[in-house]
C-alpha cells in the first residue's frame, strides 16, 4: 500500500485531527486498515488499481469532514465535564435529562412521549394567552438562569445545541442568512464565564460573530444582526399607568392653566399652537425617553426604520424584535423605579 494519494489522505487526516498524539495514531491506523481492506476487496473484484484507490477514498468522504467529526467527538467528551448548570431547579434538571433521552431516539418510554411531542406544538400554542400553564417557566425566566460556560474552540452549532438543551429553550438558527453573510455555523467559540446569565452569554457569544438572538413566541431565533433589524413588527404597549401616575408635587400646577407654549415637543407639527394637555406632554416625553434610551439611531427621524406613536395611553411601536425587547425593558425599569406594578397584559404583540 504505497499510493501517494493514499498516504497524503492519511497525512492530511492526521494533521486535521487535533487530538493528542496517541489518539491520533490510533484513529489513523484504524482508518488505514479500513482503507486497505476496502482496496483489497475492490482489487479482488477486478477493479483496476487506480480506480480502486479513487473509489476507496471517495467512499471515505473528505478528510476535513471526518476529522471534524472526531475532533468534536473528543471535545464533547471534555465539554461534558466542563459545562455544568450552576443554578438549576428540579425542572431544569428534568429538561436536561429529557434532552439527553431524546438524543437516544425512539427512547426509553417508547411510543408514548413521541406522540405527545408530535401533538404538543399545534395544540398547546394557541391558547397561550389564557395563561393556562403557570408551571411552565416563560422564556424570560429561562434566559435569566445562570450557568457556567467553558467553551474551548467549540463550534457554534455545538454551543447552541448545548445551551438549548441546558436551558430547555428551543433555538432556531437561520442558517441561510448566516451563510449569505458569511458567518460559518461551526465558527469556533471560546468563552469562559462563571455563573453568567444565559441572556448575557448569548449576547456575548453571538455578538462576536455579528449574530443576535430574537425571542419569538416561546423559542429563540438566532440570525444576523442585519436580518433581525430588517424585520419590523408592530407592538402596542399599554402605558396608561405610567402616564397617569401622580407627578412631582411641583409639577401639579402646570396641569390647570397650561399656556399655549410648546416646551418639549421638538418637531411636533401642531401648527396653530394647540395647547398640549398634561397627558400629551407626558406621552411625548415618554416617547422621547424611549427614542433616546433605546437604539437612538434606529428610529425614523434618525434615518432608521422604527416608528412610535401614542393613542390614549397606548404606545404603538413598529420596530425590530430586538428593539422591542429593549423598549419593554426600559418600560419595566420605569415602572419599577416608579413603584408601579407590571401590567398583566402590558404588551400586545
Amino acid at each position: 500500500m504505497n499510493s501517494d494519494d493514499f498516504e497524503s489522505y492519511l497525512a492530511l487526516l492526521a494533521s486535521l485531527l487535533r487530538l493528542d498524539k496517541s489518539q491520533q495514531r490510533e484513529i489513523g491506523s484504524e482508518l488505514r486498515t479500513h482503507l486497505e481492506d476496502r482496496l483489497e476487496d475492490l482489487l479482488a473484484s477486478g477493479v483496476p488499481r487506480d480506480e480502486a484507490i479513487r473509489r476507496a477514498l471517495a467512499e471515505f468522504g473528505d478528510a476535513a469532514g471526518l476529522a471534524a467529526e472526531f475532533v468534536s467527538l473528543s471535545r464533547n467528551r471534555k465539554r461534558r465535564w466542563l459545562m455544568r448548570l450552576a443554578s438549576f431547579s428540579v425542572a431544569a434538571m428534568l429538561l436536561v435529562a429529557f434532552g439527553l433521552i431524546t438524543f437516544w431516539p425512539g427512547s426509553n418510554s417508547g411510543p408514548g412521549p413521541a406522540i405527545v411531542t408530535a401533538q404538543a406544538p399545534p395544540g398547546a400554542t394557541p391558547p397561550k394567552p389564557a395563561a393556562e400553564a403557570p408551571h411552565e417557566s416563560p422564556l424570560a425566566e429561562k434566559l435569566n438562569q445562570r450557568i457556567d460556560a467553558e467553551f474551548v474552540e467549540t463550534p457554534l452549532t455545538d454551543v447552541i445545541d448545548f445551551l438549548s438543551q441546558t436551558a430547555g429553550i428551543q433555538m432556531y438558527v437561520n442558517r441561510k442568512r448566516m451563510e449569505d453573510e458569511g458567518v460559518a455555523i461551526d465558527s469556533p467559540i471560546t468563552e469562559s464565564l462563571k455563573r453568567v446569565r444565559l441572556a448575557t452569554l448569548l449576547d456575548l457569544t453571538l455578538g462576536e460573530l455579528g449574530l443576535v438572538y430574537v425571542e419569538k413566541d416561546d423559542f429563540l431565533v438566532i440570525t444576523t444582526a442585519a436580518d433581525a433589524d430588517a424585520t419590523t413588527e408592530v407592538r402596542v404597549y399599554d402605558c396608561r399607568d405610567l402616564l397617569t401616575m401622580p407627578g412631582l408635587p411641583g409639577e401639579k400646577k402646570l396641569e390647570a392653566p397650561l399656556p399655549g407654549t410648546l416646551p418639549i415637543v421638538e418637531g411636533g407639527m401642531t401648527g396653530p399652537a394647540a395647547p398640549l394637555s398634561e397627558h400629551d406632554r407626558r406621552a411625548e416625553r415618554l416617547m422621547n425617553i424611549l427614542k433616546t434610551a433605546v437604539d437612538p439611531n434606529h428610529w425614523v427621524d434618525a434615518g432608521g426604520v422604527g416608528t412610535i406613536s401614542e393613542y390614549n395611553g397606548l404606545i404603538v411601536v413598529s420596530h425590530s424584535a430586538r428593539t422591542h425587547a429593549k423598549v419593554e425593558k426600559v418600560l419595566d425599569m420605569l415602572r419599577q423605579a416608579a413603584g408601579l406594578e407590571k401590567p398583566k397584559a402590558g404588551v400586545v404583540k
Binding site: 491506523s29 484504524e30 486498515t33 468522504g61 469532514g65 471526518l66 467527538l73 425512539g106 417508547g110
Partner: protein
C-alpha cells in the same frame, strides 16, 4: 451534515435514530472490526443501509466512550486491527432498544392501519 454521510434507501431522519441500534445489533455476535461492521450492516439490510466510514467510526468511538462497546487491538487476522465487542451495558441497551423499536414499529403500523394509509409501492 452532508447528504452523502448515510446513504441508502431510507430517509436520513429515519435512519439517524437507529444507527446506534444497527451497530450494536451487528456486534451482538462475535467481536468485529470497523470494516466488517460496515459490510454486515450492508448485507443484513439487503444493501439498503450504507454506513460510510465518516459516520461509522465516529459512531463507534462514541459508543466506546459511552462504555456500550469496548475495543482491543490485535493482529489475529495478520493485520493489526481494532476489534469491537459489546459490554454488559451494551447488551442491556441493545435488548432495551430492540424492544422499543419493536413497540414503536408496531405502534406506527397500527396508526397507519387505522388511518388506512397504504404504502406507495
Amino acid at each position: 451534515m452532508e447528504e452523502k454521510s448515510v446513504t441508502g434507501k431510507f430517509g436520513r431522519d429515519l435512519l439517524r435514530g437507529s444507527l446506534d441500534l444497527m451497530v450494536l445489533s451487528v456486534l451482538a455476535g462475535e467481536r468485529k472490526y470497523g470494516y466488517l461492521i460496515q459490510k454486515e450492516v450492508r448485507a443484513a439490510s439487503g444493501g439498503r443501509v450504507e454506513l460510510p466510514a465518516g459516520t461509522l467510526y465516529p459512531l463507534l468511538h462514541r459508543l466506546e466512550d459511552e462504555r456500550l462497546i469496548k475495543a482491543s487491538w490485535d493482529d489475529a487476522t495478520g493485520r493489526e486491527r481494532k476489534w469491537y465487542e459489546l459490554t454488559a451495558a451494551g447488551r442491556k441497551r441493545l435488548a432495551a432498544q430492540a424492544q422499543e423499536w419493536a413497540d414503536y414499529a408496531q405502534c406506527i403500523r397500527q396508526l397507519l392501519g387505522a388511518a388506512r394509509v397504504e404504502p406507495a409501492t
